[in-house]
C-alpha cells in the first residue's frame, strides 16, 4: 500500500514539474535556501547534542583513574580531548556556516579562487606543530606506562581461558614457577613445571595411550572406519606429545621446583594491595583474550604461545573508589576485551584493592594454600578431579571469607 501511494505521489510530482517546464536537475532557490537553513539548524542541534552528551555521560563511565600511571593517562586524554574538541567545533562550524552563507543567490557569481600557497602552507604547518606536541607528550606517557617494573614489584600471572581468569601470585620468593602447556592435568590446570607434575603428566598420557592401543588392537570389536581413523590420529598426537614430555623430564632442573611450589593460585577474585607496584604477566590456554582493567587504565592481550606483561600500581582501595564513584556496590573488574567465543561477554574477574593491613591479613590466610599444599592434597595419580567423587574437600580457591563484604564469586562462564 505504502509503495503504491508513494508511486502515485511521484507521478503527480512528475506531471507538475513537466507542466512547469522544469527539469529535475534544476534546483529551485526555495529548495536551496531550505537546505541551507537545515544545515544551520543541524549544526546547532549537533553542537547542543554533543555538549549534552558530554555533560550527561562524559565522566560517568569509568570514574577517575585508580592507578598511578592511569592518572597521567587521564591528564593526557584531557589534553588531547581539549585539542580535538576545539578542532571539531571549529571545522564543523566553518563547514555548516559556509554551506548556509554561500548558498546560491541569483546574480551573485562564485569567487574564482583556485589556490593560495600561503594558506595551504598555514594549514600544513599548524597541524604539524600541534601534532608534534601530541606526539611528544604521548610517547613520554607510553614509555612510562610500558617500561620495566621496579625491583619491589610483586609478580602476578593472569591465566586466561574460555571463559574465565585465574591469578597466580608468585608467593614467598616472588618468583613465578615455570610452566609448559603439555603439563596440563586435572589437578595442575595452570601447567606448572615441577618434577612431580612432569611425572604425573607422563603417567596420564601413557594411560591414555594404552587405553587407545587396547581398543585399536582388540580383534573382536569392529570400529566404524571414521572412528578408527580419528582414534589413530589421536594416538599419533598423544605419542608425539609424550616424546616431548620425556625430553622435558630429561632436561628438567629440580632446583626450579621451588619456584612453582610456593605460588598461590587464586580464582574468582583478585586481591591487590594499594600503592604496591605489580608486574603482571599474561598467558592464554586457547585463543587470544585481552586483560582489560578499565579503572586502572590497563590493557594487554593474552596470546597463546607467548607471555605478555604490563605493570601498574593501584592507588585507591575499593572502599575509596566506592566513595569516589558514589556507589556502595561498585567493584573493580578485570574484563576480557578480545573476542574469544560465545561467552566472551561474561568472562570477567572481580578485583579488590585492599589497604596494606587488610592485604597482609589476606596473604597470611593463603599461606597454607600454596600450589604445593593444594597439589598434594589430592593424590597425583587420581582421576581428573571434576568427576572424582569423594575427593578431599580442599578447593583450589581457599575457604577464606573475603575481607570486604559483598564480594561474590563470579560465575566462571560455561
Amino acid at each position: 500500500m505504502g509503495v503504491v501511494a508513494v508511486a502515485q505521489m511521484m507521478r503527480v510530482y512528475e506531471l507538475s514539474t513537466k507542466l512547469r517546464d522544469k527539469h529535475e536537475s534544476d534546483i529551485s532557490n526555495r529548495d536551496n535556501r531550505m537546505n541551507a537553513g537545515l544545515m544551520l539548524i543541524f549544526m546547532i542541534v549537533l553542537f547542543v547534542g554533543f555538549i549534552w552528551l558530554m555533560l550527561t555521560f562524559g565522566w560517568v563511565g569509568r570514574g577517575d583513574a585508580a592507578s598511578v600511571h592511569g592518572e597521567e593517562l587521564d591528564w593526557l586524554l584531557n589534553l588531547n580531548f581539549f585539542i580535538i574538541v576545539t578542532v571539531f567545533f571549529l571545522c564543523n562550524f566553518l563547514l555548516f556556516w559556509f554551506a548556509y552563507k554561500y548558498v546560491k543567490r541569483p546574480g551573485v557569481p562564485a569567487f574564482y579562487y583556485p589556490h593560495n600557497n600561503k594558506l595551504e602552507m598555514l594549514w600544513t604547518v599548524v597541524p604539524a606543530i600541534v601534532l608534534a606536541i601530541i606526539i611528544i607528550f604521548g610517547l613520554r606517557s607510553w614509555n612510562n606506562a610500558t617500561g620495566d617494573a621496579g625491583k619491589d614489584a610483586i609478580e602476578i600471572e593472569l591465566f586466561s581461558k574460555q571463559f574465565d581468569w585465574t591469578a597466580r601470585y608468585s608467593g614467598a620468593n616472588n618468583e613465578l614457577g615455570r610452566f609448559d602447556y603439555k603439563l596440563t592435568t586435572g589437578n595442575n590446570e595452570l601447567a606448572l613445571l615441577t618434577s612431580n607434575t612432569i611425572d604425573s603428566a607422563i603417567m596420564e598420557m601413557e594411560m591414555g595411550i594404552h587405553k587407545m592401543e587396547r581398543i585399536l588392537n582388540k580383534r573382536d570389536t569392529m570400529l566404524v572406519p571414521e572412528d578408527r581413523e580419528k582414534m589413530t590420529l589421536d594416538l599419533h598426537r598423544k605419542e608425539k606429545l609424550i616424546r616431548m614430555l620425556y625430553q622435558m623430564k630429561a632436561r628438567h632442573d629440580v632446583k626450579e621446583d621451588a619456584w612453582a611450589w610456593d605460588d598461590i593460585i587464586q580464582k574468582d577474585t583478585l586481591y591487590l594491595c594499594v600503592d604496591q607496584e605489580y608486574n603482571f604477566t599474561f598467558r592464554s590456554k586457547d585463543v587470544i583474550h585481552s586483560a582489560y582493567f578499565p579503572h586502572f587504565r590497563v590493557q594487554m592481550n593474552t596470546v597463546p604461545g607467548m607471555t605478555t606483561r604490563f605493570k601498574f600500581t593501584p592507588n585507591k582501595t575499593t572502599d575509596e573508589m566506592r566513595k569516589d564513584m558514589n556507589n556502595p556496590n561498585f567493584h573493580y573488574v578485570l574484563m576480557c576485551n578480545k573476542i574469544c567465543g560465545g561467552a566472551h561477554y561474561k568472562m570477567k574477574m572481580m578485583v579488590v584493592v585492599l589497604s596494606k593491613k587488610e592485604y597482609t591479613a589476606w596473604m597470611k590466610s593463603k599461606k597454607k594454600q600454596t600450589f604445593k599444599d593444594v597439589y598434594f592434597a589430592k593424590p597425583p595419580a587420581a582421576p581428573a578431579p571434576e568427576n572424582g567423587e569423594g575427593e578431599p574437600a580442599v578447593p583450589a580457591d581457599g575457604v577464606v571469607t573475603p575481607p570486604i563484604d559483598g564480594v561474590e564469586p563470579v560465575e566462571a562462564g560455561l
Binding site: A7, D31, F50, A99, A110, H115, Q162, K240, Y345
Partner: protein
C-alpha cells in the same frame, strides 16, 4: 597518445554496430559502464543485507534477553530461540556485517562501481584497457559475494571471529562453531575477492596511465581519477599480503601446520602445534587492513571533490595540494599498520614508531579538509542531493578524523583499545564518510549511468534522515566507549555485577543508538525506492545536467560502445574552470580550447 586514441577509435568502428545478445549486453558484458552498474547493484544488495544484520544485533544490544518477532523471523528457532538471539550468532552477525560493509560494499561496491564508470569516461578512453579482465573482475566479485552470503545459511553458522578473524579463534572449530565450515567459506570467499580486486585494480592503473586522450596530462585529471588511481595502487600492493595471510590460515586449519598456532589446549584437546605466532597473522592482516581503510576512503574523497567543486560552482581549492595529499595518504597508509596492535604484546618501542607515522597522516587529512572548506567559501552553492551528501562526508571526515588522534596515541589507546570508542571512530570516519561519498556519487552520476534522473525531493528526505540517523547512532557510541565498554559484547547487563551506574548509562545509550539505527535504516528504503523507480520511470536526463566540465558530460545520454560517437575529445584545460572571470558561462568544459591570452587555471 594520439596513436592509442586512433587505434581505439578504429576498434569502435569495427564493432560498434553489431547487434548484441541479451547475455553479452547485460550479463557477460565487457563494457565498463555495464560492469560498473553490475558492481553497483550487487553492492546495493550486499549493503542491504549487512544493514539488516546490524539492525538485528542492535535490537539485541538495546533490549537484551527480550524476545523479538523481527529477530525470530530472520534467525528462526535454532539461532534465536523465543526470538532471543543466541550468543554465537550475535558474533556471527557482527562478523559478517563488518566483512560485507568493508569489503563488499565499500571496496567492491564503491571502488568497483565508480572506477569502472568514471575512469574511461573522465580520461577520454573508449573502454578499460582490458574489457575481458574487467568482466572477470566482476564475476569473481559476484562469486565471492555469493559465497559470503551463502555462508550465513549453513548449519554451524557463519564465521564468528570478528571481521579481522584473528587466529587461534578463527583456526579452531572447537573454540566456536563458526570457525568450522563458516570460516572455510569466509576464507575462500575472501581469496576470490582478492583475485577480483587485483584484476580490477591492475586494469584501472593501466587505463589511467595509458589510455588518456590527447591533452589529458596527469595534472589535468579530475581528482576522482587521481583517487581511483592511488586506490588501485594501494590494492595491488596490499591485497596480496592478505591473500598470503589467509592462505597460511587455511593451511593451519587444513594441513596441520603451525604458522599461527602454538601451545594450545582447546575443547579438552592438547594440540601439538608449537612455535607459531598469532601476532604474525595480525601483522599480515593489518598490512592490508590499514591501506584498506584508504582503499575505502580515497574514492569517496575523490567523488566528493568533484561534487563539491561542481555544485559550489568554484574550482576545487588547491588542486595540486589535493593530489599531493592523496599521494601522501596513500604512501603513509603503508607504514602505520601496527597501530592496531599497540596492546598485543608487540615491543613497545615498535609501538612508538607507529605512533609517529600514524599521527603524520593527520597532516594531509587536515589539508584536504581545509581545502574543502575553502572551496565552499564564497561559492554559489547548489544543494543537489549529491552536494548534501558530499558536505555530510566532510563533516563526518572531520568528526571521525579527530577521534583518530586519540587512538593513534599508543598511551591513550591502552584505555580505549577495542572499546566502542574505536567502533564509533571508524564507523564515522570510514563507514559514514565512504557511504556518504558513495551516495553522493550515485546521485551525481545516476544520469550518466542510467540516462534518467533520480527524484530530488526524495533525495533530500533520504539525506536528512541518513545524516541525522548517522550522527544519532555514532555520537552516543563514543560515550559508551569512553565508559570503557568492550566491543563485541553480547549483553552489557554484565555491568550490573560491578558498576550499576555504568550499566544504567550503557543501557540508556544503547537504546538511543538502536532507535536511531532503525530510523536511519528505514530512511534507506526511500533511497532504494528512488533508485529502482528512477531506473525505470525517472525523467530522462539531459546531456550535462549539473553543468560540469569533465569529459563524461560530453558523451551522449544513450550509452554506446566506445563512449564517444566519432573522434575522441581533445582536452585543453584542467577540469575545474568554474566561474572563471571573463567566461560567458559559469563553467568551461575541458574540451574548450583556451581563449586568446587565457591562462590555465592552476
Amino acid at each position: 597518445m594520439g596513436a592509442v586514441a586512433h587505434e581505439a577509435h578504429g576498434h569502435h568502428d569495427d564493432h560498434g554496430h553489431h547487434e548484441e545478445s541479451f547475455v553479452s549486453k547485460y550479463i557477460f558484458s565487457q563494457d565498463h559502464k555495464m560492469i560498473g552498474k553490475q558492481f553497483l547493484i550487487t553492492a546495493v544488495f550486499m549493503g542491504v543485507v549487512a544493514m539488516l544484520l546490524s539492525i538485528l544485533f542492535r535490537i539485541q544490544l538495546a533490549w537484551p534477553g527480550e524476545g523479538s518477532d523481527f529477530v525470530s523471523f530472520f534467525l528462526g528457532d535454532k539461532w534465536a530461540p523465543g526470538g532471543v538471539m543466541q550468543e554465537d550468532m550475535y558474533l556471527g552477525l557482527v562478523t559478517i556485517h563488518g566483512t560485507i560493509m568493508v569489503f563488499f560494499l565499500l571496496t567492491g561496491g564503491l571502488s568497483g562501481t565508480f572506477s569502472n564508470i568514471l575512469i574511461p569516461l573522465q580520461v577520454g578512453a573508449r573502454d578499460m584497457a582490458s574489457g575481458f579482465l574487467n568482466m572477470l573482475s566482476y564475476w569473481f566479485f559476484f562469486i565471492s559475494s555469493l559465497l559470503m552470503f551463502a555462508s550465513m545459511f549453513i548449519e554451524t553458522g557463519p564465521a564468528m571471529a570478528g571481521w579481522t578473524i584473528y587466529p587461534p579463534l578463527s583456526a579452531l572449530p572447537q573454540a566456536i562453531s563458526g570457525s568450522g565450515m563458516g570460516m572455510t567459506m569466509w576464507l575462500f570467499s575472501m581469496a576470490i575477492f582478492v583475485a577480483s580486486s587485483l584484476i580490477g585494480s591492475l586494469n584501472y592503473i593501466v587505463t589511467v596511465l595509458n589510455l588518456r586522450t590527447n591533452g589529458m596530462s596527469m595534472t589535468r585529471l579530475p581528482l576522482t581519477v587521481w583517487a581511483f588511481l592511488v586506490t588501485a595502487v594501494l590494492g595491488v600492493l596490499s591485497f596480496p599480503v592478505l591473500f598470503a595471510g589467509v592462505l597460511l590460515l587455511i593451511m593451519d586449519r587444513m594441513a596441520g601446520t603451525s604458522f599461527y598456532l602454538s601451545d594450545i589446549i582447546v575443547g579438552g584437546e592438547m594440540l601439538t602445534q608449537q612455535g607459531g605466532s598469532p601476532i604474525l597473522y595480525q601483522h599480515l592482516f593489518w598490512f592490508l587492513g590499514h591501506p584498506e581503510v584508504y582503499i575505502v576512503l580515497l574514492p569517496a574523497l575523490g567523488l566528493s571533490s568533484e561534487i563539491i567543486a561542481t555544485n559550489s560552482r568554484k574550482p576545487i581549492f588547491g588542486y595540486r595540494a589535493m593530489i599531493g595529499s592523496i599521494l601522501a595518504i596513500g604512501f603513509l597508509s603503508f607504514i602505520v599498520w601496527a597501530h592496531h596492535m599497540f596492546v598485543t604484546g608487540m615491543n613497545p618501542f615498535l609501538g612508538s614508531v607507529f605512533v609517529f607515522t600514524t599521527l603524520l597522516i593527520a597532516i594531509p587529512s587536515a589539508v584536504k579538509v581545509f581545502n574543502y572548506l575553502t572551496t565552499l567559501w564564497k561559492g554559489s552553492i547548489v544543494f543537489t542531493p549529491a552536494m548534501l551528501f558530499a558536505i555530510g562526508l566532510v563533516s563526518t571526515f572531520i568528526t571521525g578524523g579527530v577521534t583518530g588522534i586519540i587512538l593513534a596515541d599508543a598511551a591513550l589507546d591502552i584505555t580505549v583499545h577495542d572499546t566502542y570508542f574505536v567502533v564509533a571512530h571508524f564507523h564515522v570516519v570510514m563507514g559514514l564518510s565512504a557511504v556518504f561519498g558513495m551516495f553522493g556519487g550515485v546521485y551525481h552520476w545516476f544520469p550518466k549511468m542510467f540516462g534518467k534522473m533520480m527524484n530530488t525531493r526524495l533525495g533530500y528526505v533520504h539525506f536528512w534522515i541518513t545524516f541525522i540517523g548517522a550522527y544519532g547512532v555514532f555520537f552516543p557510541m563514543h560515550f559508551v566507549g569512553l565508559a570503557g565498554a568492550p566491543r563485541r559484547y553480547y549483553d552489557y547487563s554484565v555491568y550490573g555485577d560491578f558498576d550499576t551506574n555504568s550499566q544504567e548509562m550503557m543501557m540508556d545509550l544503547n537504546i538511543i543508538i538502536t532507535v536511531f539505527a532503525i530510523f536511519a535504516a528505514l530512511g534507506q528504503l526511500v533511497f532504494l525506492f528512488n533508485f529502482f523507480y528512477s531506473i525505470y520511470r525517472g525523467p530522462k536526463s539531459v546531456q550535462n545536467p549539473w553543468r560540469g566540465t569533465t569529459l563524461e558530460w560530453t558523451t551522449p545520454v544513450e550509452h554506446i560502445h566506445g563512449n564517444w560517437p566519432g573522434e575522441l575529445p581533445t582536452v585543453h584545460r584542467w577540469p575545474y574552470d568554474y566561474s572563471k572571470p571573463g567566461a560567458e558561462e559559469d563553467f568551461i568544459p575541458q574540451i574548450v580550447p583556451l581563449a586568446e591570452g587565457e591562462v590555465e587555471g592552476h
